[in-house]
Symmetry: C2
Subunit: 212 residues, 2 copies
């Protein structure tokens, strides 16, 4: 079967979750696929298809129960339990991600950061301690860590990845602008910020968008 | 017409570009949509459709000329000229993006960073100077800047956005985890790293991926 579509579905789930969190905070109990479409920019049809894919069906003419749908999506993603992650590389990017973006995420908890630089080992970023790489396996086992954010320089990325995998972590969110070589069973998502940036340039140049 | 599909096409173009750059570096002159599919994970059909959308057609049974296709995509995105951008917010994330990821991008040139903190104004990150916000308009006009990367804290994001827009910049890549209010004609892309991270959690939990 086509592997692409489900990956895209999975990428849309946290977007639905984010919107549902906001709706629930504002005491909205029901939302239609039409309204979800306005919030997300995805078509209502796409949304119905995405959710039906996982067996979540709205009531025709009414919509989805926001709390029920939120619980469903949490379960599908695997966020129903608090997920512990680590950050590998405590340079500017690692620090920024711990302080600024990742902490904006109530479902995910950074339990430790790792670095090879003795000058940063022992520092705390918020309440996250920077530890030597040698402690990664112990921490990963203790906190059942399955996801690492990789923010080391490119030339150190492959060595770091090998340590990550040896620690039993099998999902890597890679910010190093380099291709990682990993064995079967390890999932790498590349952040590709420069690719995102390039696609933005399109919108900076004249009225092209309106062609469509 | 449906606005979603073209946005996704636009997001795929830099991925094709990245692959073509590598192929050309390795003296590969022709690539089939099948091979592009192997490289990108998109289906060959999707790729042919994407490229045909912009009038780029391969030769049946042979494929695409890599240099021709690269030129075509550069033109479509608007990267045929060097694009000047600015970074607003010279904290950890701003510094990291200047040093580490954005500079990995030969098509885009950071001409200046801006901040409100007197302690960082005047510093240089690589050869990028951190300037006071008041100079943004002057720099944007001088270097024809149309794109800003926004890396200030959430609570300062809206004020910073207004200064960005007043400087004549109309495309913003927003890393502040907050919703920005912008007038018609200004394009905002939210980096949403926490949403990306959540979607990764899905792959950390057991064998679900194999269901599809």
């Amino acid at each position: 079967m086509n592997k692409i579509a489900p990956k895209l579905v999975v990428r849309r789930l946290p977007i639905y979750l984010h919107i549902l969190d906001n709706l629930i905070r504002n005491d909205v109990q029901i939302i239609s696929s039409r309204e979800l479409s306005d919030e997300t920019g995805f078509t209502a049809e796409q949304i119905r298809k995405d959710l039906a894919f996982f067996g979540a069906f709205g009531t025709r003419g009414t919509g989805y129960n926001t709390s029920f749908l939120r619980e469903k999506i949490l379960k599908i993603i695997g966020l129903d339990d608090q997920t512990n992650i680590v950050v590998v590389g405590a340079g500017h990017l690692g620090i920024a991600l711990i302080r600024y973006n990742v902490t904006n995420n109530s479902y995910v908890n950074v339990v430790a950061a790792f670095d090879i630089d003795p000058d940063v080992i022992g520092l705390k970023i918020l309440d996250v301690e920077v530890m030597p790489m040698a402690r990664m396996k112990e921490i990963a086992e203790e906190y059942k860590v399955k996801v690492a954010i990789l923010t080391v320089p490119s030339e150190q990325a492959q060595i770091a990845v090998e340590q990550i995998i040896q620690s039993g972590i099998n999902v890597i969110f890679n910010f190093a602008p380099t291709k990682l070589h990993v064995p079967e069973g390890v999932y790498v998502r590349n952040a590709n910020l420069s690719i995102e940036l390039q696609s933005l340039i399109y919108y900076a140049t004249s009225e092209k968008e309106k062609k469509f």
